[in-house]
Symmetry: C2
Subunit: 320 residues, 2 copies
Amino acid sequence: MSNNNSVTINDVQSAANRLFGIAHRTPVLTSRLINERTNSQVFFKCENFQCTGSFKFRGAYNALSQLSEAQRQKGVITFSSGNHAQAIAFAGNLLKIPTTIVMPDDAPTVKRTATLGYGGEVIFYNRQTTNREELTRSLAQERGLMVIPPYDHPHIIAGQGTVAKELVEEVGHLDLLLVCCGGGGLISGCAIATKAALPNCKVIGVEPERGDDATRSFYSKTLQTVTNPDTIADGARTPSLGQLTFPLVLNYVDDMVTVSEEALIKTMFFLWERLKIVVEPTGVLAATALLEGVVKSPGMKIGVIISGGNVDLAQIGKLL
Amino acid sequence: MSNNNSVTINDVQSAANRLFGIAHRTPVLTSRLINERTNSQVFFKCENFQCTGSFKFRGAYNALSQLSEAQRQKGVITFSSGNHAQAIAFAGNLLKIPTTIVMPDDAPTVKRTATLGYGGEVIFYNRQTTNREELTRSLAQERGLMVIPPYDHPHIIAGQGTVAKELVEEVGHLDLLLVCCGGGGLISGCAIATKAALPNCKVIGVEPERGDDATRSFYSKTLQTVTNPDTIADGARTPSLGQLTFPLVLNYVDDMVTVSEEALIKTMFFLWERLKIVVEPTGVLAATALLEGVVKSPGMKIGVIISGGNVDLAQIGKLL
């Protein structure tokens, strides 16, 4: 693992080469209704259709495929609220690398089941009483496993950057790219890839109001944290940006905004009904900022990243 | 409107030319899980992502775009349980042709709202007491409108055939194509397009058990009917195949099978959860036959048409 934060477009390109033929080149969807409503041209990059149901597979596979033979035999460990867990378990499955996942005991059932289904070993912890990073580090030391964190790792960041790289390759010029932000791996990688191809394209990150640590960090230029925020966007419950992602966000991202829980739920079902895609709450953060008018962009050509679609239907059905 | 049933691959090609740049070239999705479970290679052609949320837009636009200037000014009328209605309303909107839609008063709210939103005039009727075709004909005569039926029309059939044409162009060889069957417009067009490119590809139609008229017609070689079948697959509640589609089904389709209501609902939510697509009950008929083992095809390369995604979330949510 590199000790510097110099993830570049070359790293994103190398990740794209590793992922070629392995990860899905996910579809880009458009909607006349949404174009009319926003008075702009909107392109949804649908990572809910990625292997394991979210963009996380890109970073996970990019990281695991670069391990040495000795490291592959010992295996890896990670901590995750869900999507990174599935991604690591499945990438490990493909690459024949044993995986151990430290997961909160309140993670959605669909994510737990899928992680186990991909052959990962899952160790649960209580979100209120246990520091997941400490638990992971002690297990790693005990068992000789390499830690693959969910976002603060240059190979993870470079892998996630391939989302924006593909989007720009497919739709060409963009005036604006909207990306959800949890720990900052996706937005860092995507901002690097976007600015390399389209230096004038603005990149804006979107968080839930209740987990607005990255927005506060961005404006104060000092790392801010949040503790177990009560947001339906479980992928954005991360405590803070990372040591690598925070400077990358400051360097490459143009603005950060937040959206309410109500707006998230409304947008999620709107996309289910009109775009016909199953998206999870975290996955609609970027779309919510656009559709609820938090970001206004008449006349612009806009990319919106839909980050994932792993919902527990029985649970989410109660909101209908 | 032609009086013969000679829809050919040339008609499908002409329809494809008319639809180019207007209809979406919908994505083809794959799933490792489904490939493993069925021991085959499965390609889902996702017409739930088509304009208006179903394949019906293809036939509607193909038919309306061939009207004379005089006919365009007078306008058109049709009868539909929903998806054809939306398709005609939207195609009329694009082509500046006034549209009147005769729709059952129990059609899903989402379909009624969308049809009105596209600018169609909607006339409701009671499914138990009124013959929709008679009502449509009398209104057409009274107002000088041209009737564009939902399936029994050569331009409709040719338009729907572009679904399979695109699928075969994208994935190449197929051993088997599974298509849902209501009035037979989609399956007729798709069988014509498929057999032209891949003469050895088997085409199998799928109906709900409760609305199995086309299966009985296929096996008895005599047109069979069904009256208001109580199936959740509302697009397959059609009374029978048509005068054009029945002989086309006999000529081009290799087999017909049926699936239960329980299997439909199970498959629908399975596709929501694993493929991350919102599909309506009629839209999963073909997938259900495969995933529930009604059609067995180990080692084959299989195309499955997902016909639409117009669900009333509030209503369908109750099934979760």
